[in-house]
């Protein structure tokens, strides 16, 4: 997108009009607070960066759900990567994954102790790394379906034999079911992530909406996209009009990217598994199918997890509220560690590690994202 194109979606005058429309729709609700959830770290980044919470009507509470793939990577998955690294296998992964805590340590800790861990910007770079050497390279893969498609494309293109994938890829639609069904859930609508829907299509949410009787609106990531998505979502809630709507039509269609879906499901199959801090999510994990076994690190290596069990988990972990924060039950302000014992420099929980994590984003923008009380002097 060129900058002129981008500016269209960053026009403060249009934003003011949308903010007024949002306030009007929120008034129609006739009650407060009404809670809606987005499920994407990029949405939270944009909301925080552009200070949108200060512009949301007081009736509306916008919370972030399990929208950070790094954060929901479960402890045993991190342990697998750490164990492999400590067994001397060279690991390539995204920078955000380095400091995600496992039972005993993170990959960054393992690296300090001599393990070899390369930071890469994408799966293609990990394959390049593998081509430059004869030794095994394991790509520790995290990300939702959007990122998993890139991993799938690489595996379909016959990567070198010394390359393999330790998949921690996750699939978003099933976890929305979990969150919607949580006892005491106050969530009355979901803002779905535009980039994931680019792959899956917005049709993927139709059954969800029927089953849980909450509206879903697909939205993009520029400030105007988010505001427009929220206006529509609150309107649907006010009208009790339960359906899926798409406010990101310039990228998202009903059926999505069929070619990408075909590749995704040829390489991966959904499996049940734990998401860190949340729950066992049926079909929430993406694992390699049998025909790709030769590139599956779990089947190629004997991963010795027992070596990590001699170490006690860090004391503070018991107090970490990442799970409740990702489930939308708590906010970082409910956590006694936030900004004190837990900082980006010394994270206790995964939400403080990743650029997509709620705690990290709040911390990055000064710790208090909601400035609705502040008025400017005349």
């Amino acid at each position: 997108m060129n900058s002129a194109e981008q500016l269209k979606f960053r026009d403060p005058a249009r934003a003011a009009a949308l903010e007024a429309a949002l306030a009007e729709q929120a008034k129609r609700l006739g009650r407060a607070p009404v809670t809606v959830m987005h499920v994407c770290g990029s949405h939270e980044q944009a909301i925080a960066k552009f200070g949108l919470r200060a512009a949301f009507p007081i009736e509306l509470d916008v919370i972030m759900g399990p929208g950070c793939p790094v954060c929901v990577t479960d402890v045993p998955e991190v342990d697998e990567a750490v164990a492999l690294a400590k067994q001397g296998v060279r690991i390539a992964t995204y920078g955000d994954m380095l400091r995600v805590p496992g039972t005993a340590m993170s990959l960054a800790d393992a690296r300090t102790q001599g393990a070899r861990v390369d930071v890469v910007y994408g799966v293609a770079q990990a394959v390049t790394l593998a081509r430059q050497t004869d030794e095994p390279i394991v790509f520790f893969a995290s990300g939702f379906e959007t990122t998993a498609v890139a991993t799938a494309a690489v595996l379909l293109a016959e990567p070198p034999a010394n390359f393999s994938v330790l998949s921690a890829h996750k699939y978003i639609p099933p976890v929305m079911e979990i969150v919607a069904e949580m006892p005491g859930s106050k969530i009355e609508g979901f803002l779905a992530a535009g980039h994931a829907a680019t792959i899956t299509g917005w049709g993927v949410f139709e059954r969800f909406v029927e089953r849980h009787r909450v509206p879903v609106v697909v939205a993009g990531f520029e400030p105007l996209d988010i505001l427009a998505g929220l206006v529509r979502l609150v309107e649907l809630i006010a009208d009790n009009d339960i359906r899926v709507d798409n406010t990101y039509p310039r990228c998202v269609s009903r059926e999505g990217n069929l070619e990408a879906q075909a590749r995704l499901w040829r390489v991966f199959e959904p499996q049940g598994g734990r998401w860190r801090g949340i729950a066992h999510v049926p079909n929430g994990n993406l694992r390699l199918r049998d025909e790709f076994a030769k590139w599956d690190a779990r089947r190629r290596f004997d991963i010795d997890l027992a070596q990590l069990w001699d170490h006690a988990p860090p004391r503070l972990v018991a107090q970490c509220q990442c799970g409740d924060i990702m489930a939308g039950i708590a906010s970082p302000h409910d956590c006694t560690l936030f900004g004190r014992e837990c900082t980006p420099d010394a994270p206790v929980g995964a939400c403080m590690v990743s650029a997509e994590g709620t705690c990290k984003i709040w911390h990055q923008y000064g710790g208090h994202p909601d400035l609705r009380q502040i008025r400017r002097r005349a």
Binding site: F50, G51, H363, I374
Partner: protein, 344 residues
């Protein structure tokens, strides 16, 4: 975030990032027993330099060690940086006629003589631009691997009739930046190997004393405070001003001048240009009545053409810096640790 407990057993990179961790370290260790200059400004004030009363004037003194990777970057090199950094710290205290600089150099065994000559040549050029010179120095050579190629320290001294602090702001005061933000930091980040970005980014490293002299000539005592937004960028400079003066500062993000290419590189790397270093810019707090004339004076200087009023002081939330994004408002966080590009 304010008031975190900086009590680590080891000094890590975050303590050198120019933010709250560094200020805590100065308070807890360096300023212990060294804080006060009777009737002047000492270490405890954590200003850009010290001011010692001398007759009816002040001797202003400041020191700065320079380490930059790479040594030669678009728009300058470590030599130019070493001169400008110290000249600008003096200027931020109101001392715009640097009498002289000293220069201590620590060199790693094996360093190329040609590179050293290049660095000194640009130090001479920068001194000429600033109207000063280097009058004494010190040289050490260390074994290979004992430091990263070269460290240059400069100390500057000047006499001024009026010392400008970096505090004293009251609600209603306006904040001027003298030009585009983020140029130096993003130019440096973009040259680093693993990012391999091909950009047209150029560091802004330049001596500001002449520009500041012009501003002070027009603004006089209506200029309340000055600070150069180096490490930690505009964010750290404003945080320091807000904390020391116990005022809130509201920044109009759309008014902050940022070059298109800096903005683009920042978006790509996930780095806010307001959080990265500038080496040829100042933040100047001015009483509202004088702000327009001071702005005009700054803009009439070649280094100040893109100067702008970017914010004002308020009485809400003392100590906080709030960004008005045009869409809403948020707090302006400070850089922590080393700035790394966002990944994912």
């Amino acid at each position: 975030m304010r008031n975190p407990s900086y009590v680590d057993d080891r000094i890590t990179l975050k303590y050198g990032a120019g933010g709250s961790a560094m200020r805590a370290l100065i308070e807890q260790i360096f300023a212990q027993g060294f804080g006060e200059v009777p009737g002047g400004i000492g270490l405890a004030a954590m200003d850009d330099g010290a001011a010692i009363p001398f007759g009816d004037a002040w001797i202003v003194i400041t020191t700065d060690s320079h380490v930059v990777q790479p040594l030669f970057f678009p728009g300058g090199d470590i030599g130019r940086l070493a001169v400008c950094g110290t000249v600008n710290d003096l200027a931020m205290m109101g001392a715009t006629k640097p009498l002289a600089l000293t220069c201590a150099t620590i060199i790693e065994d094996g360093f190329a003589r040609d590179d050293l000559a290049l660095i000194w040549s640009s130090m001479r050029t920068a001194c000429e631009e600033a109207g000063t010179t280097i009058v004494t120095g010190d040289t050490k050579v260390m074994r290979h691997g004992e430091l990263d190629r070269i460290v240059i320290n400069t100390t500057g001294i000047a006499i001024t009739k009026r010392v400008v602090p970096d505090c004293g702001l009251v609600p209603g005061d306006k904040l001027i930046v003298t030009g585009t933000m983020g140029d130096h930091g993003l130019a440096i980040l973009a040259t680093r190997g693993e990012l391999a970005l091909e950009t047209a980014l150029v560091s802004d490293v330049a001596p500001l004393n002449a520009l500041v002299r012009r501003a002070l000539a027009v603004g006089g005592d209506q200029i309340i405070a000055m600070k150069d937004p180096t490490r930690g960028g505009l964010a750290s400079a404003l945080h320091e001003m807000a904390e020391k003066s116990r005022v809130g500062i509201i920044v109009d993000e759309r008014a902050v001048p940022v070059r298109d290419e800096v903005r683009a590189a920042g978006e790509l790397l996930g780095i806010d240009p307001l959080l990265v270093a500038n080496e040829g810019k100042a933040v100047i707090a001015v009483r509202p009545g004088a702000v327009d004339s001071v702005l005009d004076a700054i803009r009439s200087h070649p280094l100040g053409r893109r100067a702008a009023i970017v914010g004002e002081c308020v009485d809400e939330r003392p100590g906080s810096v709030i960004v008005d994004t045009g869409f809403g408002r948020r707090l302006l966080g400070e850089a922590e640790g080393e700035l790394l590009p966002r990944i994912c």
